[in-house]
Amino acid sequence: MNAALESLRGQFARRGGALPGNASIGEKRKRAFEEFIARGLPTTAEEDWKYTSLAALEEQSLALPEAVDVATAMAAVERYAVEGLDGPRLVFVNGELIPPACQLDGIEGLEMTSLGYALEQGPGAETLDQVVDIDRYRFARLNTALFIDGAHLRVARDTVIEKPVYLLFITLGDDTPRLIQPRVLIEAERGAKMTVIEHFCGEGPAALVNTVTEVLAQPASELTHYRIQEQADTHTHIASLNARVARDARVVCHNIDFGGALVRNDVHARLVESGAHVELNGLYFTTGRGHVDNHTRIDHLAAHTTSREDYRGVLDGRSRAVFNGRVLVAEDAQKIEAHQSNNNLLLSRDCEIDTKPELEIYADDVICSHGATVGQLDETALFYLRSRGLDAETARGLLTFAFAEAVIMRLGIEALQSRLSRTVIGRLPDSDRLREFT
């Protein structure tokens, strides 16, 4: 058994009994942990993990987090919180809720609590593990076994929550690598509408963030979900977003990865009734030796369901990215429409991208499209800008910015857009000039 599993065993034995949840949750945790240990960490021998090696993680001795003092936590919030989001907010530092940083003023129709609190009260437990395909997503099992806290959100029937709900997860690494495991449960009841931002950032030495989100989108509901990941280049980040989309419901997910040493991001959307729609937008900008692996699965399980997926990547340095987009159309799921695209821009010779669509179609009356590109900047556009007097470096920077900006523009929340645009610009050569363009 490797160091990581060994250490987790010790942690579970020592702290497993004191984790939130009643006896039945305790049972669930125990089973999940045993199954996780029995199967171990994924290896590159498995198709789903072919390009992403966890060898470095295996060597780490992980520990559950210790409490961070409030002053340190509040200072971190000050550093990382997105400015201009003034709606409901929950903040966690190293997995622990920081009440003075939260904004919980009652909003009619929105049930919003920390998951720990929800579990104490009872009801939050019902949706736990109900959406995620626990057999497939092994890290979700680890999360179930050892999560400490997270968020529980429910919007009441036909209620529209205007302001985005902001969930901020800050990871402060220390000498011992910590296992930070947010768990987020979201339910939009029939006809409800809301926006949730999950924002991951942090600093310091190595840490493992393993986060799981479960989304229940009831009929005719609308959920827009953001996962913005800007962690330190020492951190490992593993995420899974699992959504069950019912009749005429719409789920839109934005996945932005700008940080992390090793990132694995799974999205699994199941369109279970007719009229269900899912949209996935992704942007990853990898630098240094960063590694970002996006795996998406969209299951069209009913007729008249639609999906649209557009991931873009900018790779620099010696970084690596993986995109695997799987679309499944079940046997009786006629008249579905699924479009997928993945475009990548390579800024250096030493970076690498592996992109692969996987279509598995068992129905015959479907419209599916997919396309992937890997390349350099458009030579004609580059020449056009240079012929107007812009130097080559600025022209390249501008075109790279424009490529990423196409995804950022779709975010629809200005506070996020301007922050992310600034990050992109900051990473490009000649950023001072480029700043004038936004």
Binding site: F383, L385, R386, R388, L398, L399, F401, E436, F437
Partner: protein, 250 residues
């Protein structure tokens, strides 16, 4: 101002320009006509510095400089401007900012102070009025979603702002309605001055009614096969190009 001597250029191993000679003095307006595929755009792009064309021999002297030795941006800063036959759409790069960056790059090169946003907007509004362009174009991406004619107008707007010394207009008149043609011609004429030269590639004599050239050249088979005054354009309109090919034996 511009002296092209025995210019040979090829693309992907195919020779397109085959010993082209042309001389243009400051203050002059030249028109270049010629059949499709004869190399007119190639000439314009080679002069602007497109590196997908390989110059295999010959020389181009511009204001005493070896033009071919300069990067495209250096040529632009020395006052060379190419209005593209097919202007490029660049979504995400804002029209105004691109133009402001372009103008300031030139000003910096000439040791003039850069224009701030206020001064620049004042200038561009003035030029847009001249081009009869709607202010909404300002906030769009470069040529993004512009109609064919709007793209051509945008090229001339850029020219009007950048005030080049040598303007190369590659079929700027194609795709313009008659009113737009007049507006574009006005824009070009307002740029005419003793220090500047203008080269217009066109298929239509009509343009030359509005912008009267000093000389007309026929480019065919990668060479200038005939030059004359503006009556040559009228003759071409009547007779086409075949008689020239026969006369030259090309």
């Amino acid at each position: 101002m511009l002296k092209i001597t025995d210019l040979h250029a090829s693309v992907d191993g195919t020779e397109i320009l085959k010993g082209l000679n042309l001389e243009i003095r400051a203050g002059e307006v030249h028109a270049i006509m010629g059949p499709n595929g004869s190399g007119k755009s190639t000439l314009a792009q080679v002069l602007a510095g497109r590196d997908s064309y390989e110059v295999t021999s010959g020389s181009v002297e511009y204001k005493g400089l070896d033009l071919l030795a300069l990067a495209p941006e250096a040529r632009a800063r020395e006052g060379v401007f190419l209005a593209f036959q097919y202007p490029v759409e660049i979504p995400g790069v804002n029209n105004v900012y691109m133009l402001k960056a372009a103008l300031n790059a030139m000003r910096k090169h000439r040791d003039e102070p850069e224009l701030d946003s206020y001064a620049f907007m004042k200038l561009i509004r003035e030029k847009m009025k001249l081009m009869q362009m709607d202010a909404s174009f300002l906030n769009r991406g470069v040529n993004e979603g512009f109609s064919g004619g709007e793209k051509k107008r945008n090229e001339i707007l850029q020219m009007a702002v950048l005030e080049p010394t040598l303007a190369l207009l590659d079929e700027t008149d194609s795709g313009l309605d008659i009113d737009a043609l007049k507006v574009v011609a006005e824009g070009v004429n307002s740029l005419r001055s003793p220090e500047r030269a203008i080269v217009m590639v066109t298929h239509y004599q009509r343009l030359l009614d509005y912008i009267v050239p000093d000389q007309v050249h026929v480019l065919s088979g990668g060479r200038i096969v005939k030059s004359g005054d503006r009556t040559l354009a009228l003759e071409l309109e009547e007779r086409g190009y075949d008689w020239l090919a026969e006369a030259v034996g090309a």
